[in-house]
Every structure is written in structure tokens, then in C-alpha cells.
Amino acid sequence: MIRLREVQKSYRQGERTTVACEVTSLDIAAGEHVALIGRSGTGKTTLLHMLAGILRPDQGTLSILGQDLSTLSESDCDRFRGQHIGMVYQTFNLLQPFTALENVLLGALFGRGAGADAEERALHLLAQVGLEDRMHHLPSQLSVGQVQRVAVCRALINNPELVLMDEPLGNQDKATGGQVLDLLLQLARNNKQTVVMVTHDPESATRMQRTVDLATLRRVSS
């Protein structure tokens, strides 16, 4: 499902080059739920962005579903992301002028298409997470937990093979966040979806099948 080899991403700041993320080898099987942990600055979010095709590695190979993302054009990479990857961010990143239903449909619009089927699926997903009476509300009219559930629905609308989550419980109480995470993992299990979650919260990591510490993936300096 996911295969990384000798992947490195660096940033230049003037004369200085900082290695933001380094992964010598990582394999994640289809349907596996993996937590990526690590201290601040170990490049968790950078790795997540590379897995999503938002950032390109400077070196190494990164393939998802057998597709080497580095060989795709930017446009094809966007299309691949839209169709095969769903993302949930720490800040949920809903678009404020759009209702809950519209936010979920935006995921479909840029993914597999926002036709009548997509709307039906969006309504079903929102109902599954208990938002059937909030689907026409704007994000500003929803609680944090409700916003998180809308973000989960948006990530799942295209029935993606891979779901990426960046600190999804970061901004809320653990009880509420945990419930939503359990719900997402349940849905992902039902649909045999692969889930990769970046977190610094050990308790959240225990909900996943496997935990990978990014520090262990770095090349050992000689």
C-alpha cells in the first residue's frame, strides 16, 4: 500500500539546509492503521504532506497503491490525492462560507465528482456521525466535536483507500475526540481503508494497530 525508501525532505534557509524529514524505509500494508509519533520537529507533518503528494521528497522513492508519486505531474498528483486519499487536519480546515454538507461535497467535487450519488453518500455519512440535523449549518455554528465529524465525513466521501490524519485530537477534550476517532477507525475498518495518523499523544496511538516512531526511521549518523 505505502512504500518509502531513502526518502528525504530538506529546507534551505539562506546558506543553511535543514533536513525536515528523513525515512530510510517504511512499509504500510493495505488496511493497516498506523500511528506516526515523534518529538516536535521530527518531520511528522512533513511526512504526512509527502504521503498526500502535497510535498515532494528531495530524494528517495515514495509509492502509494503502487504509484510512485514522484513520477506524477503536479496535476496528476492532485487528481490522485483527490481520488485515493482523504485527509483530516488538526485544525479540520473546513471552509467557513460553506455548510457542513457543502464542505463534505467539496471533497467529492475535487475527488471522484460531486454528482447525485455523492450527495446521497454525503447525507449518509453525516447521518452516520449524528449530524443529520446540522448538515445545513455553517462551521461557525457547530461545536468543535461536530466540526471534527464533518472533517471526517469529508475525508471519507470519496471512499479513499488511504486516510491521513494530522493530530486530529489536538484541539479538544480527549473524551469527545476519542469518540470521533473510534468512529472513524470503525468506518475505516468496515471499508478496509488504510489509516495513517500523526500524533504526539500516546493514548491516541494505542488505538492504532501499529505505532512508528519517526526517530527510528532516520539514518544513523556514522
Binding site: 512533513t46 504532506h49 498526500a52 502535497i54 510535498l55 503536479e74 496535476s75 492532485d78 487528481r79 490525492r81 483527490g82 481520488q83 486519499i85 485527509m87 487536519y89 488538526q90 485544525t91 480546515n93 471552509l95 462560507p97 460553506f98 457543502e102 461535497l105 467539496l106 471533497g107 467529492a108 467535487l109 475535487f110 475527488g111 460531486a114 455523492a118 450527495e119 469529508r154
Partner: protein, 464 residues
């Protein structure tokens, strides 16, 4: 959910900026549409006004343009006089006009006006009702009907008045009676605009006058006050602003005797001696004769034929007016260029208005990109906003233009005589709306490019 829904939503959430830009596009397009509409309808009015006037015969000391503007459009003072004999020669088709095959010849005398609006009073014969046609139709009446003063009445009056004046000028011992102004001749037919603007109807009174009311030299011919017997249907031509009275009434106005007959100074004579020379019926002065040759070749033939006559010429309105409009057209062209510049500035406003929002929209764009939106789709959303803005603005501008025409048409007609048809939507306006939409789309390209190159990873978090 479509890309256009996102464009529309983006316009809605920036309502103030959207409305202000919309207004600028609307005003610019409205201005452009108004200039085009005015130019087109002025041209239509000028060309339409020529119906029925295939040839205009008038004095040789005026230009053809003066002759046509004076006779057809009531513009300017009468540039001179021609003799009744010219009219008779044309009418009989013997000495003149045979080859031109004239369908009608109608004499006109003008010089007096009515009311503070200075509607021209034209003396003519009832052939104006019986023979004159516009688009194969005689002039229509919305109320009442025509007065009677025929060709025979004119000849009889010219003869008796010439006899009377000759006796008076030569100091004859036996003075014949001055021909009376018959009550049957003190009638008027008025154009639609005269009726509307002066609220005149059947039974109303029209008194020919000289000069402007309230100014020195103003004089009303109370003795020739005419009763309105007919109101003409609107023609969108200067006929709407004209008062027609029998030529006999015009001839018999009290202080017109000096100029009623055209007498040339014989060689070797003092100009003052002319006042004492006898006059003939054929010397009766007319300002113009409307002639209508059977076909379009006729006016050229008539122009050549009249060239041999020292005292008159034939003007061909269909030749003169287009040349005149070409001159006016260049002014309209300049106004059009100005309006195009205003449109371009409005296009620039769209660019600035949307470009200025790009910084605050970086996160929104990054989120859409993270959901799989391609650069092209981001471009399409932003260009769509600009295109929607300009299309709606342009459509509103065209509607605004027609609404203004609807509101101001009476004022414009009263001031200029040009009747503006507010409901005359043209294909050109459809093209204008499309063109402004395209202009807007082009104006949206720069912000669209900026938006599509937004760095996704850097802008996904709220703090960035």
C-alpha cells in the same frame, strides 16, 4: 456542487467589494450601451425622417445640406425663396421633372413659429394629406382630420393677390380688393409632439408668430390664429414637431406682403425700384417644394435638370444626410472610444478587487488544493468570479441604459427631437454583454494565476 457554486459563494461573502465592482461595470457598460443606442437611434431617426422626401427643391443660394435640414428637419431659418412658377413647371411635368417622373410635388412656405418651443409653422396644400406618403402610407391622424386648401385654391389666390399687390405697388387708380383670409383656411393640423407638449387637441388654437416670446421683435399674427382640426399620428420624424396650416393663410399674413412675391432686381434698376414693380402669380414665393420621383434614379435626373435653372436647385436628401451623418458619426466614434476606455478601467477594477483578496484567500485555496483541486480548477473558480461579476454587471448596465431611456425619452425628445425607443434591444447589446464577460474573465486571469500558485503546505494552518 459545482465550481460556479464556489465562485458565487466567494462573491457573496465579499458583498461590499462585489457590489462596488458590479456598479462600476454596470455604469461603464450602461454608458457604452447608451452611446451606441443614441447613435443608432439618431441615425435611424435621421434616415427615417427622409421617407417621403426623395427630392427637395429650393433656392440656389443655399447649400443642399441647408435645404434638406431646413425642409425636412426644421433646422435653421429658411435659406431663401423660389418662385411658384418653378413649382408649376415641376407639377405640370412639361418644362421640368418629366424625365424624373414625379409622383407628387408639394409646395411649402415656412418662417413662422408657435409657442415658446418654437414649433415651426409650415404653409402647404392639402396634397400633404392626399399625396405625401411615408413608407407607401399617407400621414395618419390620431384625432380629427385634414383641412382643405388645394392646388386650385393656391393658383387662384396667387393670381388675385398678385393683381392686388401689383395695383398697390404701381399706385394704380383702381385698387382691387385684398383677397380675404377665409375662415375655412384658418385651420391647423399639428404633429404628435406638438399636441403632447402643448396639450393641444381638436379645437385648440395655434397663432403663428415671429421671434421668441418675451423678446424684442416678437409678434403674433392674431388675424391668422388657426383652429386645430387634426392631430397626426407619431412618425418619429420632424413631422411630429410641425404645425401645418393652409398655404393661403401663410400668404395672407398681415405683414408678409413685402416677401410674399419674389421679384428680382432688373438690370440697371435700383433695388428700391423693385418695390414699385408689378408682380405675377408665378412670382409667389415658396421656401421649398417637396418632389417625389418614381424611382431612385429620379433625384439624380432632377438634380441635373435643375442645374440649368438659375433660381432653384434640387437636393437629394438620401445623398446629403448620410454624408452629414458621417461627420456626426466621427463624434459618436470618439464617445465610443471613451466608453471603451471606461470599460477597460472597469476591467482593471475587477483585477484589483479580486487580486487584493488573494492574500486572505491563501488558506482557502490551500485547503481546496489539499482536497485534490488542480491549479486549473482554482484558476477556473477565480476567473469564474470575474466573469460572473462582469456578465451580471454588463447585463445590469444594458438594462440600466434602457431604463434610463424609458425615464428620459420624453425629455430627450423635447430637447433634441430624437425619439428614443427604450424597448429596442439589439443583437449588438447581446454581443456587448458577452464581450464584457470575456473582458472580465481576462481581468480575472492575473489573480487566478496568483491564486493557483499558492503554496499548499505553507498555507494549510490558520497561523500561516
Amino acid at each position: 456542487m459545482r465550481l460556479t457554486s464556489i465562485s458565487l459563494r466567494n462573491l457573496r461573502i465579499r458583498l461590499v467589494s462585489t457590489v462596488l465592482t458590479l456598479i462600476s461595470i454596470m455604469v461603464a457598460t450602461g454608458l457604452y450601451a447608451a452611446i451606441k443606442l443614441m447613435a443608432a437611434q439618431t441615425q435611424k431617426r435621421y434616415e427615417g425622417s427622409l421617407e417621403g422626401y426623395r427630392s427637395v427643391i429650393g433656392p440656389k443660394d443655399a447649400s443642399e445640406l441647408e435645404l434638406v435640414l431646413g425642409t425636412v428637419f426644421n433646422i435653421g431659418k429658411s435659406p431663401g425663396l423660389i418662385r411658384l412658377q418653378v413649382y408649376e413647371d415641376l407639377r405640370s411635368g412639361k418644362a421640368l421633372g418629366r424625365r424624373a417622373q414625379l409622383l407628387y410635388t408639394i409646395p411649402q412656405a415656412r418662417g413662422d413659429e408657435f409657442s415658446r418651443f418654437q414649433f415651426p409653422v409650415v404653409g402647404t396644400t392639402d396634397e400633404m394629406w392626399n399625396k405625401f406618403t411615408r413608407g407607401d402610407q399617407p400621414l395618419q391622424f390620431t384625432a380629427g382630420g385634414p383641412w382643405r386648401f388645394g392646388h386650385d385654391d393656391l393658383l387662384a389666390l396667387a393670381s388675385s393677390f398678385a393683381e392686388y399687390l401689383s395695383a398697390k405697388r404701381t399706385g394704380a387708380a383702381q385698387m382691387p380688393l385684398r383677397p380675404p383670409l377665409l375662415p375655412a383656411w384658418r385651420k391647423a393640423v399639428i404633429g404628435a409632439r406638438v399636441a403632447r407638449q402643448l396639450d393641444l387637441g381638436i379645437g385648440g388654437k395655434v397663432t403663428p408668430s415671429h421671434g421668441k416670446p418675451g423678446e424684442f421683435g416678437f409678434h403674433e399674427h392674431e388675424e391668422a390664429a388657426c383652429e386645430v382640426v387634426g392631430v397626426l399620428a407619431p412618425t418619429n420624424s420632424p413631422i411630429d414637431s410641425t404645425i401645418y396650416i393652409p398655404l393661403g393663410t401663410f400668404v395672407l399674413l398681415a405683414d408678409h406682403e413685402e416677401n410674399v412675391f419674389k421679384v428680382d432686381v432688373p438690370q440697371g434698376k435700383n433695388p428700391d425700384d423693385v418695390k414699385h414693380l408689378p408682380v405675377k402669380a408665378g412670382d409667389l414665393a415658396l421656401t421649398a417644394v417637396i418632389a417625389y420621383p418614381k424611382d431612385h434614379l429620379g433625384p439624380r435626373i432632377l438634380r441635373i435638370e435643375m442645374g440649368s435653372r438659375p433660381e432653384a436647385q434640387a437636393a437629394w436628401p438620401q445623398d446629403v444626410i448620410p454624408k452629414f451623418l458621417k461627420t456626426i458619426g466621427s463624434v459618436a466614434d470618439w464617445l465610443e472610444y471613451l466608453a471603451v476606455m471606461v470599460l477597460l478601467v472597469a476591467g482593471l477594477l475587477i483585477t484589483v478587487a479580486i487580486y487584493n483578496t488573494m492574500n486572505e484567500r491563501r488558506r482557502e485555496i490551500a485547503i481546496m488544493r489539499s482536497l485534490g483541486a488542480r491549479k486549473g480548477q482554482i484558476c477556473a473558480i477565480i476567473v469564474g468570479e470575474a466573469a460572473i461579476l462582469s456578465l451580471v454587471g454588463a447585463f445590469a448596465g444594458v438594462v440600466l441604459c434602457h431604463l434610463l431611456v424609458l425615464l428620459l425619452r420624453t425629455t430627450v425628445e423635447d430637447l433634441t427631437g430624437v425619439y428614443l425607443d427604450w424597448a429596442a434591444f439589439t443583437r449588438g447589446e447581446v454581443y456587448l454583454v458577452i464581450a464584457v464577460g470575456l473582458l472580465g474573465a481576462i481581468a480575472g486571469l492575473l489573480p487566478a494565476l496568483k491564486g493557483s500558485f499558492t503554496q499548499v503546505a505553507d498555507n494549510l494552518s490558520p497561523s500561516s
